[in-house]
Every structure is written in structure tokens, then in C-alpha cells.
């Protein structure tokens, strides 16, 4: 009985690790800058992303539970090491799922602040993205928003998001 239970635990550990790895790898594989995404696989990748954290937590919980059960029966060294490696791997994946690599790489702008034209040092030729709402005129230098990509703002009382 102990042997069968241990086997079940090991299988659960391996499956948790495999699923945890897939949940991280699949969206990162599909949504890559230099790769074309067909509509259906994009939908699938986004579905994985939406449930990724929860699913990863589940995998980690199962892995840790299986590890606990397995270790209590003092298994042989090979089983113990594989189990620990699998559990650690799963927990690491769960940790990774908390990070959005795009936000890390592309530095969101946070709360934007503005200055008057006289305080601004921009070349005359530099391009800006400009909006004018309810007499509130704002310019977003293209060089700046091309780096941050997204600026959440409010202009003339209207909440807007400038994208580039």
C-alpha cells in the first residue's frame, strides 16, 4: 500500500510539474514579438494567462501535498530527491506566474506629470502625440511614449490612455 501511495504521489508530482511548466511556457511561446500569432492560438494563450496564477497555485498545492505524503513514509533516496526537485520546480513556476515580463521590460510610466512649454527642452522637429480636450492641451513626446508604450492619463476631465 505504501508503495502504491508513493507511486501515486510521484505521479502527481510529475504531472503538477509538467502542467506548471506548460502554463508558463505556452503563453510565452505564443506571445513573442518576432512571431506571428493566429487568432485561435492567441485566444488559447490568453485563456491560459487569465487563469495562470490560480492554476499555478493549484499545481503548487498538489505538489506540496504529494511531497508531504511521500516524505512521511521515508522513501528511498531517489524517490525523495525526485519528489523534492519536482515540488521545488512547481513552486518556482507558481512564483514566476506572478511576473509579467513585458511590464518588467517595458517600464510602465506610472502617474504622468506635465510641464509648461517654456520648461520643456525638446527639439522643434521632435514629434509629439497631441490631444486637446475641454481646453486642456497635452503633448506626449513620441520618444517618451514609444519607450513606455502606455500612459494612463486624464485630460480635460476625460480619462484616456495614450499608446504608441
Amino acid at each position: 500500500m505504501a508503495i502504491r501511495r508513493n507511486r501515486v504521489c510521484l505521479i502527481a508530482l510529475i504531472i503538477s510539474l509538467a502542467v506548471a511548466l506548460f502554463l508558463i511556457a505556452y503563453p510565452n511561446y505564443v506571445i513573442r514579438p518576432q512571431r506571428h500569432q493566429a487568432s485561435q492560438e492567441l485566444q488559447a494563450a490568453l485563456l491560459v494567462l487569465r487563469y495562470q496564477r490560480l492554476a499555478e497555485l493549484l499545481c503548487a498545492a498538489i505538489a506540496l501535498g504529494a511531497l508531504g505524503i511521500l516524505l512521511r513514509s521515508a522513501p528511498g533516496r531517489r524517490a525523495r530527491v525526485s519528489a523534492i526537485v519536482a515540488a521545488v520546480g512547481t513552486v518556482l513556476c507558481a512564483g514566476l506566474s506572478r511576473f509579467n515580463v513585458y511590464e518588467i521590460m517595458f517600464h510602465p510610466a506610472g502617474a504622468p506629470s506635465f510641464q509648461s512649454i517654456s520648461e520643456t527642452r525638446l527639439d522643434a522637429k521632435e514629434m509629439v502625440l497631441a490631444v486637446s480636450l475641454n481646453n486642456d492641451s497635452r503633448a506626449y513626446p513620441v520618444r517618451t511614449i514609444a519607450y513606455h508604450h502606455i500612459v494612463n492619463d486624464v485630460a480635460g476631465g476625460i480619462p484616456l490612455v495614450a499608446t504608441y
Binding site: 506571445i31 513573442r32 514579438p33 518576432q34 512571431r35 506571428h36 500569432q37 485566444q43 490568453l46 485563456l47 494567462l49 487569465r50 509579467n100 513585458y102 511590464e103 517595458f106 510602465p108 510610466a109 506610472g110 504622468p112 506629470s113 506635465f114 510641464q115 509648461s116 512649454i117 520648461e119 520643456t120 525638446l122 527639439d123 522643434a124 522637429k125 514629434m127 509629439v128 502625440l129 497631441a130 490631444v131 486637446s132 480636450l133 492641451s137 497635452r138 503633448a139 506626449y140 513626446p141 513620441v142 520618444r143 517618451t144 511614449i145 514609444a146 519607450y147 513606455h148 508604450h149 502606455i150 500612459v151 494612463n152 476625460i158 480619462p159 484616456l160 490612455v161 495614450a162 499608446t163
Partner: protein
């Protein structure tokens, strides 16, 4: 540029990924994923919803300053300014990476910079360098007469319907100082599309939104697009 309010809910957007060279956004309020280029949610609780397009301009700082002297400019984010690209980043980019999609139609390079207009039931693209060379382009989109006017800076372009409100269709001609004259009233019009003298003084033409984009990206999202004089 998109409005952040959807069905009364105020959304805050984060960068979530790259989708065929455009990017994906995620709102932190519902976790839905949005396409930057269309403003449409493609996954999540708000899937299918569209953000409201907010009319915006891409023009030189000099021209913008002259039109909006009381305007304010986004500050560099502290600590990040060193990472902003050198000033000719878009020129350099033209020369580098291969694109993920290929549309060798009309002899256009994938990264050729185009001015795209989607209006009046049609999509049409104009080569940017051709538009600023011609200075005033008179054309049709769908069956609507439209003009693309280049500013005095030789860089900024705006599009308008070639129709004076309450007078009707007309023909515009460009004056050397980058203003236009219309053939119906002889009024002079500025880069904002407003008549500054003559019979039509005080009237403004209807703006048409332009998107500046690489050819392959415009063509990918507008498969039926036509191109203005591609070999011209």
C-alpha cells in the same frame, strides 16, 4: 489614444504582450486583454467591447507649440530618460529587423511608413514620404473627397474632408506658405483646417483620423486596403 471608461467603469491599462507587432494591454480592473491598434478587448470579461477612440494628432513640437501655446508636455519619467531612444530611432528601426509578416504588394517594403485612413467605408494607405513631398494630396476614400495637408514643418500631416460645411464640395490648392485656398470662396485655410479670411472665415473642415504605421502592420489589419499611387 483611447478613452478609459467602459460602461461606467474606469480602466487602468498595463502592457501585456506583443501581438503581431502591435501590443496587447490588460486592464487591472477586469483582467481583460485589449488590442492596442483596434481598442477592442479580445479576451476576458469585457471581450468584444471596444474603447472609444479619442482624436489625436502626431505633429512636430514646433507646430504644436504654435497652435497650443498654453499646452503642457509630458515630462520624462525620472531615472528613465537615459533609456529613451536617440532622436532618430524610427529611422534606424527602418533599417533593421525582419518583420513577422510579409506583404510585398505594390512594391512596398514591409517597414515603409504609411499614413493609413479608415473612413467612409474604406481603408486607404499613403506613403508618408510621398505625402510630405506632394504637400497637398487630393484624393478619394470610398467615394468621399479627402485632402492630406502637410504642415509648414514639412513633417506633420493632417487629413480633412474636402467639403466646406454649409457650402459643399470644393477644391483646395496649396499656397507656398503652407496654407490652402479653396476654389469655391477663395478663402485662406490654415493647418488646423480653419478659414482665416475670405467668405468662409471662421469655418473649419471636418478632420479625418490618420494612423501612421508600417505598411505590413496596416495591411495586416486592413486586408482590403487600397494604396494611393504606389508607383507615383
Amino acid at each position: 489614444m483611447w478613452g478609459r471608461k467602459v460602461n461606467g467603469l474606469l480602466l487602468t491599462f498595463h502592457l501585456a504582450g506583443i501581438n503581431n507587432q502591435n501590443f496587447l494591454m490588460r486592464d487591472e480592473e477586469t483582467g481583460s486583454y485589449w488590442q492596442q491598434i483596434s481598442g477592442r478587448a479580445i479576451s476576458g470579461p469585457l471581450a468584444g467591447t471596444a474603447l472609444t477612440l479619442i482624436p489625436s494628432d502626431e505633429l512636430s513640437f514646433a507646430l504644436w507649440k504654435s497652435e497650443r501655446p498654453a499646452g503642457r508636455v509630458l515630462k520624462d519619467v525620472p531615472g528613465e530618460a537615459d533609456n529613451y531612444a536617440p532622436k532618430d530611432w524610427d529611422v534606424k528601426l527602418q533599417q533593421s529587423f525582419p518583420t513577422v509578416l510579409n506583404f510585398p504588394e505594390h512594391g512596398l517594403g514591409n517597414r515603409e511608413i504609411m499614413l493609413g485612413i479608415e473612413a467612409f467605408g474604406a481603408a486607404r494607405a499613403y506613403r508618408y514620404d510621398q505625402v510630405i513631398r506632394e504637400k497637398l494630396v487630393r484624393d478619394f476614400i470610398g467615394s468621399e473627397p479627402v485632402i492630406l495637408l502637410t504642415g509648414s514643418d514639412g513633417q506633420s500631416v493632417r487629413a480633412f474632408r474636402e467639403k466646406i460645411p454649409s457650402i459643399g464640395d470644393t477644391a483646395f490648392y496649396r499656397d507656398p506658405d503652407a496654407t490652402m485656398i479653396d476654389s469655391s470662396t477663395g478663402s485662406r485655410w490654415n493647418f488646423q483646417g480653419c478659414a482665416v479670411d475670405g467668405k468662409a472665415k471662421g469655418t473649419c473642415l471636418e478632420r479625418v483620423a490618420i494612423i501612421k504605421d508600417f505598411w505590413f502592420d496596416w495591411r495586416n489589419y486592413h486586408p482590403a486596403t487600397s494604396v494611393y499611387r504606389p508607383h507615383g
